[in-house]
C-alpha cells in the first residue's frame, strides 16, 4: 500500500518569509507572506487552495487550533485542514498527509505551512514546561538542554565519542553557515574546534556552540502540494514527494525510559542513543524505492551537535558507529560526498521556534530547485529529517526534482 503513493504527489510551489529588526514577524503574518509567495510561485490563485495543514501551534502564538485561526485570518475555506501534531517534526510529517490528501481526492491543492517567532525573543523559562512531564519532571525544573545532555553523556559512555567529535560537527555546520546571509551564526565566522570547546557550558557536555542557535527573528515556509500530474502542468520545477515516514516513541523524556518489548529498529530498550530516525527513514526509503546512496543532499534536524552522527548512522548514510568519522572526514561539508545542512542547519542557520523543521524542508526545496540562498549543491534527490519533542517524534521526507518533462521515477 505505502509503495503506491510515493511520487504521485509533488510540491508545485514554495514560499519562505523571514522576520527582521523592522518587522520581527508575528507567526500569522509570516505565514501569510510565505503562503502568498508559494501560491504565486505555483501560478495558482487563492481560490484554488482547498487544503491547509500546519504543524503544532507556534511557540510565539500558542492558541490551539492554530491552523483554523490561520484559515480564518486568510479567509480560506479549506475542505481539508488539520494540524500535524507530531511535535515540531509535524512540519515534515504534514508533507505525507498533504500527498495522501491530494492523491485520494480529499483536496486538490494543499498548503503546508509553518511559522514561528524568533526564540531569542521569548521567555526561556516559559519554554521547557511545554515538553516536560508536569508531574515528574517539572518539579525538578530542568532546562530543555538537560534532556539532550543526558542523551549526549550516555552516547559518550556507550560509544566512546568525545567532545572533540561534537565540536567537529559544529565546524562542519559552520562551513555552510558562513556563506548563508540569513544564518544566525554567520557573524561568528569560521569556527575552530577549539572555539567550540571554549564556549560556555550549557548542560553536561553540551556547550553553547553545540546547541542550536536561537534566531532573533521569525521564519516561515509554505509549500503547495498537489498531484504530480497537475504539478507538471503548473510548473517547470515540480518536486516529487517520493517517500515519507514517521515514528513516535515518547511524549516526555521519562516515557522513553519506560519503553519495553520489541522495537527491532531501536535494539535493546530503553535506549537514549538510538533515537528513531531509523524507523521514519526505513518507511520513507521503502516508499520511495530509493536508498541512502541515492540522496545527493540531506537536510537534518540537529538540535544539539551530538545528534548529527547518530542520525547519519540511523538513516544509513554511514555504518553504525561511523558517524563521528564520517563528519571528521568532511563528507557533510561543501564539496563533500553528502552535503548536509546546507544553510548551516539549526546549529548555524538557527532555530526560530517550531518552524525549524519547515526551514529544513525549505532549504531542501531551494537546493533541489537550484535556488539556494547560500552555497548551492547540484543534485536532484534529497532527504529532509525532522525531530520533535525530547527525542520522541521523527519524520522523514524524500523529494526529487524531475522537471516538467522529467522521466517518471522507477516504480
Amino acid at each position: 500500500m505505502s509503495q503506491r503513493i510515493g511520487g504521485l504527489a509533488a510540491i508545485a510551489g514554495f514560499g519562505d518569509a523571514y522576520g527582521s529588526a523592522d518587522d520581527p514577524g508575528e507567526p500569522l503574518d509570516l505565514a501569510t507572506s510565505a503562503i502568498r509567495r508559494a501560491v504565486a510561485d505555483a501560478g495558482i490563485s487563492k481560490s484554488d487552495v482547498d487544503g491547509l495543514l500546519t504543524s503544532r501551534e507556534p511557540l510565539g502564538d500558542r492558541r490551539p487550533q492554530w491552523q483554523n485561526i490561520l484559515a480564518a485570518y486568510l479567509k480560506l475555506y479549506p475542505r481539508y485542514s488539520t494540524q500535524a501534531m507530531h511535535h515540531a517534526a509535524g512540519a515534515i510529517t504534514m508533507l505525507g498527509m498533504a500527498a495522501t490528501a491530494v492523491v485520494t481526492g480529499q483536496a486538490d491543492t494543499v498548503i503546508c505551512v509553518q511559522a514561528d517567532t524568533g526564540l531569542a525573543q521569548m521567555d526561556p523559562a516559559a519554554i521547557p514546561d511545554l515538553d516536560s512531564d508536569p508531574s515528574f519532571e517539572v518539579p525538578y525544573r530542568p532546562g530543555i538542554a538537560v534532556y539532550w545532555a543526558l542523551q549526549c553523556r550516555r552516547y559518550m559512555h556507550e560509544r566512546g565519542v568525545t567532545e572533540e567529535d561534537f565540536a567537529r560537527v559544529v565546524t562542519a555546520h559552520q562551513a555552510w553557515a558562513v556563506a548563508h546571509p540569513l544564518a544566525a551564526r554567520r557573524g561568528h565566522g569560521g569556527l575552530t574546534e577549539a572555539d567550540v570547546l571554549r564556549s560556555r557550558r550549557v548542560s553536561g557536555p553540551l556547550r553553547s556552540l553545540m546547541c542550536s542557535a536561537w534566531r532573533q527573528y521569525g521564519t516561515a515556509g509554505a509549500l503547495v502540494v498537489t498531484t504530480t500530474e497537475r504539478a507538471r502542468d503548473l510548473t517547470e520545477n515540480p518536486l516529487l514527494i517520493r517517500g515519507f515516514g514517521q515514528a513516535a516513541f515518547n511524549e516526555y523524556f521519562g516515557d522513553r525510559m519506560g519503553m519495553r518489548g520489541t522495537h527491532p529498529d531501536l535494539g535493546e530498550l530503553p535506549t537514549l542513543v538510538r533515537m528513531g530516525a531509523v524507523t521514519a527513514g526505513r518507511h520513507a526509503f521503502a516508499m520511495a524505492d530509493l536508498g541512502p546512496r541515492d540522496m545527493g543532499i540531506a537536510e537534518l534536524a540537529v538540535p544539539f551537535a551530538h545528534v548529527l552522527p547518530l542520525v547519519l548512522e540511523e538513516l544509513g548514510f554511514c555504518a553504525a558507529s561511523e558517524g563521528p568519522a564520517f563528519v571528521r572526514a568532511g563528507h557533510t561539508e561543501p564539496g563533500g560526498r553528502l552535503p548536509v545542512n546546507t544553510n548551516g542547519g539549526w546549529l548555524g542557520f538557527g532555530q526560530a521556534g517550531l518552524s525549524c523543521n519547515m526551514d529544513t524542508v525549505v532549504e531542501l526545496v531551494r537546493q533541489l530547485r537550484g535556488e539556494a540562498i547560500g552555497l548551492p549543491v547540484r543534485c536532484d534527490t534529497g532527504l529532509a529529517y525532522g525531530v520533535g519533542g525530547e527525542l520522541g517524534c521523527h519524520a522523514v521526507a524524500i523529494l526529487q526534482a524531475v522537471g516538467r518533462s522529467g522521466t517518471e521515477p522507477a516504480s
Binding site: D133, S135, P139, Y140, R141, G143, S203
Partner: protein, 138 residues
Amino acid sequence: VSTRSAAIARYWAAAADGELHYEWCEECGLAVFPPRASCPYCWSAAGLSERVSAGLGTVYSHAEQPSGTGADEVFLLVELDEGYFLFTKAASGWSDVTIGARVTARFVPLADGRTGPVFGPVGEPDPAGRAEDTGSRR
C-alpha cells in the same frame, strides 16, 4: 497520565512521608512508572499494584546545569533496582557523579516546594542534610 490522577497524588503523598512508590504489573512481571490506573504494557488494571521501592539504583546518565548562583545543579537519570527509571537530581553537594554509580534516595523539598526524591551516593552520609533544593532554570 493526567497530573490530577489519584495514582500520582498517592506518589507525591508517599514522597512527602519519605517513601518512594512505584507500581508492579503481575501480568507482565514488570515495574511500571509513572504510576497510573492500568499497566501500559498489557493494559490490565487488575494486575497492577503499588509497591514501595528500596530507593536504591544506578546512575544511567547525568547532566550538570550551571545554576548561576553557585554549585552546578546535577540532573540524573537513575535506574532503580526494581527495574524502572526516574528523572531526578543529585543530592545537593554531590558533584563527582559518574554513570554506573550506586545511589540511594533522599527526600528533600524541591524547587516548587513539594517534597520529593533526589539521589546521593550509597554508603555516604548526606553531605547537606535536608537542605532546600533551590533549583533554577536555564
